[in-house]
């Protein structure tokens, strides 16, 4: 994935909810640069989620119906520990 794409994902990690901003901050700084193209594509799809759903999935308040997004959601959650 090219630099343009990566930088776009960094900007799109700015969300409408503070809780998401905070959880993505560390992930973007520490994990994003290490992802391969396939994982980056997954992250891009996760960023398309509506903010409220995204937060509920991260917090385990709701189960993400899309199986394909689950591994990336778990990685974002993992980056908080």
């Amino acid at each position: 994935m090219d630099d343009v794409h990566l930088k776009r994902l960094v900007w799109r990690s700015r969300r409408g909810l503070l809780e998401l901003d905070l959880q993505l901050e560390r992930f973007v700084a520490e994990v994003l640069p290490t992802l391969d193209d396939a994982a980056l594509a997954e992250f891009e799809n996760v960023l398309l989620l509506p903010d409220n759903d995204f937060l509920d999935y991260l917090n385990g308040k709701a189960d993400c119906p899309d199986e394909r997004l689950k591994p990336m959601l778990a990685r974002i959650r993992g980056a908080q520990q």
Binding site: D3, V4, K7, R8, V10, W11, R12, R14, R15, G16, L17, L18, E19, L20, D21, L22, Q23, P50, D51, N52, N59, G60, K61, Q80
Partner: protein, 590 residues
């Protein structure tokens, strides 16, 4: 270098609730309307609103817009303009029902009408008892509102420019507004959006404080831009705070935690609320708790390496109770404070939530300076000060503000555009050049200051010197300090000079807006030597002549901060409603 110009009837900066509501009005009237947003519209900060939107529909029990008006005036501690408040409360049922027709999935009663619940400060019969006035869509009211309005805008052919950042206003030599200079984030290319009418709906600036519930995007761009263009900012000393946000993060810890037995402690482990409120202790009202926390921090009994927060202790509670009665709190604490509250107390601090002040407008959404509308310039939503919230906003009145003033500014713009000459006038390039020069300065800065450090210095200064409870000496020092921080902001340097989605450049430009808001807030707060609504000072105490420290004789007036020379002047509060009698001054007590 010639800057390309795009031409529209109307340009709207901001795609939150206010911007989208205004855009809809304009597009449905057949006008060519551009909406610029830093982020995808439905990720605007309006998405965070859960509680609801107020309207005296009276679906569950009798209600009346006049009662809603009374509550809003009282909530504002009489600083709100009564013409605008009457307008908003009368329009509320119309705009809410309209939103329902746009497809907003409101919660419903069994008879199909919109379900309404009670919310703090909303009462029936002129302050008698709580009334159910808040309309919500589950806990996703803001989200649902954005979706309904966005879909409808797409249908009406509103042109969206997503991931565009407005940089500066363009005014002609007579001060008439001609549009904005904006940057496309993907390329860093700069364009002018020229229009007959320009609306700012850029939301709030809660990020001036170290602890804020606002998302990172709330950097007060519209306020910074307006200030640089010579528009004063109104009532910027008034900010609403919540007593317990996670220190350093801002995420709210619900007040239910204290209800379940949570105890606030200082660095010595002392349960300090016993000294401030011997009876209610940790369950005292929000302002009492916030004030006590700040006093502890100020007197050197704060916790942590910077002694800048206190602790909320629930370690004595049964873990079962924590898990069952306070779901989510443990997770929030572990995630955002890095502590398990079953084992260690949570660091907390009063946290900024909402900005009452803003760009001065009337209830038609026209920006008003020196008693006259600025031709071609409008503002609505949290960025604007109509002023309906005065010194203190009532919950759920802000989403209402977006709908009412989004719509009314849209209508004003339609009238203005229809009356304007068909062809756009010649563009005043001086403002465009100034804006480009500002970006060039940043790109070429050498040996400059670091953006993150400057922002942190600003946020610490605002939090310590101009937070929820204010001290005379701290405010005076705060003015000096924030002017020092301003010098840092003037020389920020970015290492990454690349063009594509350069987040570092965007953040540096946002900081140039934040600092204007920070100065306006600190300087306005320092000057206002009374306590009113959310502005509470230690040297304006509660006395029989001045209940709650409010000084109507000297301070029943709106502050106007001018960027040029940090000058302050004042204008009277409009005490004359449109059709009813003045809601007379009274002590605000609940």
């Amino acid at each position: 270098m010639a800057i390309p110009v795009r031409k529209f009837d109307a340009v709207i900066v901001g795609a939150g609730g206010a911007g989208l509501r205004a855009a809809l009005q304009l597009s449905e009237a057949g006008l060519k309307t551009a909406v610029l947003s830093k982020v995808f519209p439905t990720r605007s900060h309006t998405v965070a609103a859960q509680g609801g939107v107020s309207a005296s529909l009276g679906n569950s029990e009798p209600d009346h817009w006049h009662w809603h008006m009374y509550d809003t005036v009282k909530g504002s501690d009489w600083l709100g303009d009564q013409d605008a408040i009457e307008f908003m409360c009368r329009e509320a049922p119309n705009v809410v029902v309209e939103l329902e027709h746009f497809g907003m999935p409101f919660d419903r009663n069994s008879d199909g009408t919109i379900y309404q619940r009670p919310f703090g400060g909303h009462m029936s019969n002129f302050g008698e008892k709580p009334v159910r006035r808040a309309c919500a869509a589950a806990d996703r009211t803001g989200h649902a509102m954005l979706h309904a309005l966005y879909q409808r805008n797409v249908r009406a052919n509103t042109q969206f420019f997503v991931e565009w950042m407005a940089l500066d206003l363009v005014r002609d030599t007579d001060g008439n507004v001609q549009g904005v200079v904006a940057m496309e984030m993907e390329t860093s290319d700069i364009y002018v959006f020229q229009a007959k009418a320009t609306l700012f709906a850029t939301g709030g600036a809660g990020r001036i404080f170290a602890s804020s519930t606002n998302a990172f995007i709330n950097t007060g761009d519209g306020l910074g831009i307006a200030a640089r263009a010579g528009i004063p900012l109104e009532d910027m000393e008034f900010w609403q705070f919540h007593p317990t946000g996670v220190a350093g993060a801002g995420v709210l810890i619900t007040e239910g935690v204290r209800g379940e037995g949570g105890i606030l402690r200082n660095a010595q482990g002392e349960r300090f609320m016993e000294r401030y409120a011997p009876n209610a202790k940790d369950l005292a009202s929000r302002d009492v708790v916030s004030r006590a926390m700040v006093t502890e921090i100020n007197e050197g009994r704060g916790c942590g390496p910077n002694k800048d927060h206190v602790l909320l202790d629930i370690t004595h509670l049964d873990p079962e109770v924590i898990m069952s009665k306070l779901p989510g709190i443990r997770e929030i604490s572990i995630k955002f404070a890095g502590v398990d509250p079953i084992k260690a107390p949570i660091p907390v601090v009063p946290t900024c939530h909402y900005q009452m002040g803003g760009i001065p407008t009337n209830y038609k959404g026209e920006v008003v300076v020196d008693g006259k509308p600025v031709s071609g310039f409008y503002a609505a939503g949290e960025v604007a000060c109509a002023s309906v919230h005065g010194a203190n906003r009532l919950g759920t009145n802000s989403l209402l503000d977006l709908l009412v003033f989004g719509k009314s500014s849209g209508n004003s713009m339609i009238d203005f555009i229809k009356a304007a000459p068909k062809d756009l006038p010649e563009l005043n390039t001086a403002d465009v050049d100034r804006s480009v020069a500002r970006v060039d300065r940043l790109n070429n800065q050498k040996n400059g200051s670091n953006v993150h450090e400057a922002r942190a210095a600003m946020q610490r200064t605002m939090q310590a010197h101009c937070g929820v409870f204010r001290f005379k000496d701290m405010l005076a020092q705060g003015v000096e300090k924030i002017l020092e921080v301003e010098q840092m902001v003037k020389t920020t340097e970015i290492a990454d000079k690349s063009k594509v989605f350069n987040t570092a450049r965007i953040e540096a430009l946002e900081l140039e807006n934040l600092i204007e808001v920070a100065k306006a807030t600190m300087i306005s707060a320092n000057a206002r030597t009374e306590s009113r609504g959310a502005h509470v000072r230690d040297d304006a105490a509660d006395t029989p002549e001045r209940p709650n420290g409010r000084d109507d004789q000297n301070w029943l007036k709106h502050t106007l901060w001018h960027r040029e020379g940090n000058r302050l002047d004042y204008k009277p509060v409009n005490m004359n409603p449109l059709t009813v009698e003045t809601i007379a001054l009274k002590t605000r007590s609940y």
